[in-house]
């Protein structure tokens, strides 16, 4: 592996480092796009968290009237929608964007402007969805939007309009990112970075992209049909006109189940990076990890109807989907044993990222076990629509995805911002989160099995739910305190911590071979890879740590040129959909403006020059 900057002058700081608002609006740098995702995802994560706390306050005692039933419906719908589409998915995007190009030894993604387009569409889509609160019309039909709850007859207001159009906008963002990273991972790998040498995070991300590509068109169609029902009077999901509400459930879950893996696979990837580094051992069973990931994704498309056992599909369908679902426990178990095999006999360093990764394994196993329980239709009929299911999916999505993403945040923070987060505060965060999480969600298994239904705004006294619910509410606030500690940690280290070295954890992958934070072009010279843990290999060959990489001028490196057209093009989508929503009041003008902006943006995007080169040290342009 060669990363020495032959032919590049070493510098204290790079010239031409762009600053200011305009440089962010026009940025196409994958690292800055990642930071935009970070800002957006953090804001939406805290919004979703506040919604969760309001729900918990409402449920803290029986017969409570802190929020009424209508607002409660809006809160749980927006909590689910926000956490899935605006928090966990974009949090994964932070690491796709920042880390994948660094791990595969690339200077940027395959389509930098498409990448910028993706983040703008995500931010605008999130604002569009949340703007519904301003009109008192937040979506209120659940994150799954089951027909007929969403039909014009039962939901005449704008609640569902905001939901279906907002999700449509966010789908465009996900697809743009998926095409981009699929191509990036296939095509921009450094010489020698064969597929079976890619870091596990890149592998799991690659599989996630395939899932995004194949799952999102299905919900796009479902949302289009719903839109036709609501705006144009068709009867796709209206039984009175010959339609079938169950078709919605099929389309939604053909998307929705792969979506579950879209949420968890990136976290699988992250902890597969963290565990080896803090165990001082290579990942155990690399090939088995790759293929079990592929197998999970493949099976993920054949299990959607386990969300629908209670619709009465008959014994054959029930049997098929039940068996297919139980089968997923096998590749997932392979992964868990490999993670344990990785830490087995290692010299463990219990740093904060490692703690969260270990927490992930324990919590995810619990979520997985309750998942296998309701893979059985008779058990599922008992558990469906109760808090048992809420407990299950929070163990996999919070105990799994969020624990994994937080591990990634502590692990890569020094690479992204050049500051190591404080270990002591990190450990306090970990214990608050672990205790708060279990206090919140473990009792839900019990109240669920006792029959407490989901999505109901209150419960009567004396059913045996009171104490457990109180405990859950206390847990939720401890959980929130954990994240407050993390924010304080970021604020404190931002101001006082010394600059982080390039390789603070003695890492194995390429991102640790360049300065923290990396320069715009990442690698002054594209490295050559000869094995699975290229940096460990380089250190072994050298017989010790590598010298601290220096910042260089980057003179003559060709980089994608900044552009504001991705933002203009992205703006056309909320314009178009606002036009659609208002079409019955103001006529088709809004739609025309949206489409015109779309074409204007795309044509200017396509016909502008897209490359530039880093100017010389003394401002000399070099082509």
């Amino acid at each position: 592996m060669a990363t020495t900057a032959v032919g590049h002058e070493a510098l204290a700081a790079a010239p031409g480092e762009k600053t200011g608002l305009w440089s962010w609006i026009t940025t196409v740098d994958h690292k800055r796009v990642a930071i935009l995702y970070l800002i957006g995802a953090t804001v939406f994560f805290f919004l979703g968290g506040i919604e969760a706390l309001l729900l918990r306050i409402q449920l803290a005692k029986p017969d409570n009237n802190f929020v009424g039933p209508e607002f409660y419906n809006q809160l749980f719908t927006m909590h689910g929608t926000t956490m899935i589409f605006l928090a966990v998915m974009p949090m994964s995007q932070i690491f796709f964007n920042y880390i994948i190009p660094l791990m595969i030894g690339a200077r940027d993604v395959a389509f930098p402007r498409l990448n910028a387009f993706g983040v703008w569409v995500f931010l605008l889509g999130g604002l569009f969805l949340n703007a519904s609160f301003l009109f008192g019309a937040a979506p209120d039909a659940g994150w799954f939007g089951y027909a007929n709850l969403t039909s014009k007859q039962f939901s005449p207001g704008m609640h569902v309009d905001f939901w279906m159009l907002g999700l449509q906008i966010l789908g465009v963002s996900s697809l743009a990112a998926a095409v981009n990273f699929f191509v990036t991972i296939i095509n921009l790998r450094a010489p020698g970075m064969r597929l079976m040498r890619m870091p596990m995070f890149v592998w799991m991300s690659f599989i996630t992209m395939i899932l995004l590509l194949l799952a999102f068109p299905v919900i796009t169609v479902a949302l289009i049909l719903l839109m036709f029902d609501r705006f144009f009077g068709t009867h796709f999901f209206v039984p009175a006109g010959g339609g079938d509400p169950i078709l919605w459930q099929h389309l939604f879950w053909i998307f929705g189940h792969p979506e579950v893996y879209i949420l968890i696979l990136p976290a699988f990837g992250i902890i597969s990076e963290v565990l080896p580094v803090f165990s001082r051992k290579p990942l155990f069973g690399y090939a088995a990890m790759v293929f079990s990931g592929v197998f999970i994704a493949f099976l993920g498309f054949g299990v959607w109807s386990h969300h629908m056992f209670s619709t009465g599909m008959g014994p054959i369908a029930d049997t098929f989907f039940s068996l297919a679902t139980m089968l997923i426990a096998i590749p997932t178990g392979v992964k868990i044993f490999n993670w344990i095999g990785t830490i087995w006999g290692g010299s463990l360093q219990l740093k904060t990222p490692m703690l969260f990764a270990l927490g992930f394994i324990a919590m995810f196993i619990m979520g997985g076990l309750s998942g296998v329980m309701h893979a059985s239709p008779p058990a599922d009929l008992q558990q469906t629509d109760t808090y048992f299911v809420v407990a299950h999916f929070h163990y996999v999505l919070f105990g799994g995805s969020i624990f994994g993403l937080v591990a990634g945040a502590y692990y890569w923070w020094p690479k992204m911002f050049g500051k190591l987060l404080d270990e002591r505060l990190g450990k306090i965060h970990f214990w608050l989160q672990l205790i708060g999480f279990n206090l919140t969600f473990f009792p839900m298994h019990m109240v669920g099995l006792h029959g407490m239904p989901r999505r109901v705004y209150t419960y009567p006294k004396g059913l045996g739910f009171d104490g457990m619910n109180q405990m859950e509410t206390v847990g939720a606030f401890i959980l929130a305190a954990g994240f407050a500690v993390m924010l304080y940690n970021i604020w404190k280290t931002w101001r006082t911590a010394p600059p982080a070295p390039a390789d603070p954890w003695n890492g194995a992958t390429l991102e640790w071979s360049i300065p923290s934070p990396p320069q715009e072009w990442n690698f002054p010279e594209i490295p050559t890879v000869t094995g699975r843990d290229p940096l460990w290999e380089a250190k072994r060959q050298r017989g010790g740590p590598l010298p601290e990489p220096q910042r260089v001028s980057g003179q003559g490196i060709h980089m994608p040129a900044p552009s504001y057209w991705p933002l203009v093009t992205a703006l056309s989508l909320p314009l178009l959909f606002t036009g659609l929503m208002l079409a019955s009041k103001i006529g088709p003008w809004g739609i025309f403006i949206g489409v015109a902006t779309l074409f204007f943006g795309i044509y200017n995007w396509l016909f502008e020059p897209s490359y530039t080169s880093i100017p010389g040290v003394r401002g000399k342009a070099h082509h």
Binding site: M193, P217, H235, L247, I254, W521
Partner: protein, 214 residues
Amino acid sequence: MTDIAHPLAAPNPHLETSTGLDSRKLAIWTFLGSECMFFASLISTYVVYRGKSLVGPFPHTPWTDPATGQVYEPIIEIPLVTVGTALLLFSSLFIVLALYGAQKGNRKMLLGWLGATIMCGVFFVGMQVYEFTHFVHKGLTLQRNMFGASFFTLTGFHGTHVTIGVIWLLTMFVLALRKQLPPENAINLEMAALYWHFVDVVWIIIFPVVYLMQ
């Protein structure tokens, strides 16, 4: 410096990528793979709702309105759509010839066959506009029954794809006219061609499912 330049920096067809494939071409293939699921969902919806209409007009059988006694004839007219289908199929050949012209630097061939492709596309969209209007006059609307809803949605989204393809090809045509489509940029046309073939293939599925299956 060229050996360390970003693969994308070289605006030539011999981009240095891990697979040797141009990233843009790979992106179009990826996008089309995703589109397969889009049309699969629409076609499935159509198939699920076949024969589920509560009232006529129906595609292949007559229907008498019990309230008024009015008879609705089977609404689908196969000859017209067959011509449209044939033109769309031929246009796939034409665009291959246009691409060959672009790659060989034969501008006459490029412009001629690209023009023919665009004409076919325009005729197909025109055929569809005529067909839709005709159906509406005969009483079939989006709202009328499940056939109307799923038919207009499926063929409408396909028609939208053809329209976008025509706009894309027109853009290429203007570029070719301005001599901005030299052989080293033929990939730009190749991407449009891949999309065009895909839209064509989708129609090959829609045509028998909607028009021929009774």
